[in-house]
Symmetry: C2
Subunit: 217 residues, 2 copies
DNA sequence: CTCCATTTCTGAACATGTTCAATAACCATT
DNA sequence: AATGGTTATTGAACATGTTCAGAAATGGAG
């Protein structure tokens, strides 16, 4: 590991640990620099903004999510169950950060921020996150209209983003409400999806798909 | 108007004007103070944080939304059309702030969250915003399952929040994509809603309603 | 080994949101 | 009008994200 890589790694580790222990606001650049044994300016040599350090945390959490999920996926080929697994393990991975989640959210939400899940800067991390839900779909044995199947990973990811937003504001003990929402939502999805194949669902479904495509373009 | 009220009003007006002209980031407290002819500390005597000034803007926009919508509501009693009106006029009211919307969004979602549309602090403004969609529903002549009807205003408001989020990231000219989404979404809603009365929709519908109630509590 | 360009690093300086002790203005009561 | 308490206002100070001009370290060419 080169000197440069070493410094960068030390900053990253220090930052992530501090984010976990102290939360977003309490983690100051000066503190990170001090704990990493470098100068403030040097931190900025490697990371243009504090948000870029949050992104490191975000990647870590995402990798954690992926790892947790892979274990669970072997258990079932039912789409709704797989979705539930993905959602619940997503919440598990986020759990250590719930206390200061609002701070992180504020940092993440701005499109100009490198961390925004919707912004252009985070295209690869986003693709990686969506891939989890690609696995949800790919490993399922349910019959799904082909067109819908193509859009589904992104839609489920979007639902997961919504769940995450809910989770941020969820102060129920252990974020039980969020977990209930994940379970109930997955179940509902499982009962509604088969209806998509009924004849009169054709119209609304293709309407929905058109809408999505138009919105994305 | 008492001296105190006068000062407060001057701060509010100066701040809102600056937010509109310069956007969120470029509007500094020092600038507001200077333009309002007061000291920095005095601004803080009336408004605990910069976000509280954003809230003033938020209320203004909301009042604007309400005013625009009332004109349009007279035109139709069709639920989907009324929803479209509410959504499009919402975007109209927001339009002047699109350029610096990211900054406002970050402020709105912020930790202390006096401005957050979901936080507890903003209960009344939120209720006011939901009322717009209450009017969407109340003024419609469509037949809607009673239970659903009760939840609908809040659900539509939630959809509007989602649309707003999309709009923030929408860089298409004139935010055309957001408008298309509002129109298409309303239309889709109009075609799907009647299906809620079909017998086999019973199960999923009550499942959905249970979910919502559990999440809110 | 020497030299020099490039990379890495430093710490002071800056902008801005926020706090606070001190002062001024105001107003009801005597 | 004088007094005293409450309200309003001030400006300096503080914390923190960020920038920047320059110093130090590095590493390859000669």
């Amino acid at each position: 590991m080169s000197k440069s890589e070493n410094t960068r790694a030390k900053i990253t580790e220090t930052a992530i640990e501090s984010f976990r222990e102290r939360g977003y606001d309490q983690t100051t650049i000066r503190l990170i620099a001090e704990e990493a044994g470098i100068s403030v300016g040097n931190a900025y040599y490697y990371f243009p903004t504090k948000n870029h350090l949050v992104q490191e945390l975000y990647l870590r959490v995402q990798a954690d999510h992926l790892a947790r999920v892979e274990a669970g996926f072997a258990a079932t080929t039912d789409l709704a169950k797989r979705l539930e697994i993905a959602l619940l393990h997503g919440l598990d991975a986020l759990e250590p950060y719930h206390d200061s989640a609002p701070g992180f959210l504020a940092a993440a939400i701005s499109p100009t921020s490198a961390v925004s899940p919707f912004g252009a800067d985070a295209a690869e991390p986003r693709a990686m996150a969506i891939r989890v839900f690609g696995e949800v779909v790919r490993g399922s044995t349910n019959t799904i209209p082909a067109e819908l199947k193509r859009e589904l990973p992104e839609l489920l990811w979007l639902a997961y983003m919504g769940l995450t937003l809910f989770w941020v504001y969820d102060n129920s003990p252990g974020q039980a409400k969020s977990r209930a929402l994940a379970k109930g939502g997955s179940k509902l999805f499982g009962t509604v999806l088969p209806l998509a194949r009924l004849p009169f669902a054709r119209g609304p479904l293709s309407q929905l798909l058109d809408l999505i495509r138009a919105a994305r373009k």
